[in-house]
Symmetry: C2
Subunit: 126 residues, 2 copies
């Protein structure tokens, strides 16, 4: 079943409090994850909340990576939405789970843009 | 079942080509949708692709709105990820479907951060 995009909905549990509460660490790790996937960064945004928590978005030419962290619960909500056959989002996910020291995680994979078109007409954005 | 966040995964079909190919229109509509939900904007990013297509992200204090458009297919991949009881993401979605003139759409609602904690301890970021 062909689609325009592949969206990983990831729940990371039991992560390291200090890591996921540090906006500079979260940015460094998420940007490295994008590089591992071989996606092209358009623009990143990272924001530190008070008293704790970080939100980060990296817009990529092939859609986006987002993360929202709740250090007080050791939890991160991670989304990896990519288009095209050349992006290795699974490698990014493996890196992120390890980098944030998530002892447990769950993943759902959703196909986005399953259109009623011949497969050879489904192209991602250049 | 209590959770930290509510994530609407939305597929908008048969949208207006010119609207979803115009970065300034897409930005105006998505920012208005955020206002309708009563979420608080942290930072927006919008990007026009060549030859067509727009990506937009609005980081909000309560997580994010994202959109990726494929005008050539009349298709938009929309995500509305919000936290807290006070945000009306359903009203945003109704507005977006109408604003982009989507003749058809589908929605999945996913609870994010369903943690093994008493419900009164589950708080969203301030």
């Amino acid at each position: 079943m062909k689609s325009l995009g592949k969206h990983l909905i990831v729940e990371l549990y039991d992560c390291d409090f200090d890591l996921i509460n540090d906006v500079s660490q979260v940015e460094k790790i998420l940007v490295e994850a994008v590089a591992i996937s071989k996606a092209t960064i358009v623009q990143p945004i990272f924001h530190q909340f008070s008293p704790h928590g970080v939100s980060g978005v990296v817009v990529i030419a092939e859609s986006h990576f987002t993360i929202h962290t709740w250090p007080e619960y050791g939890y991160c909500a991670l989304d990896i939405f990519t288009c095209g056959e050349l992006i290795d989002s699974d490698a990014s996910l493996a890196y992120l789970q390890k980098a944030f020291k998530a002892d447990n995680f769950s993943v759902m994979e959703i196909k986005r843009g399953v259109l009623n078109l011949p497969a050879d007409r489904l192209r991602h954005k250049p």
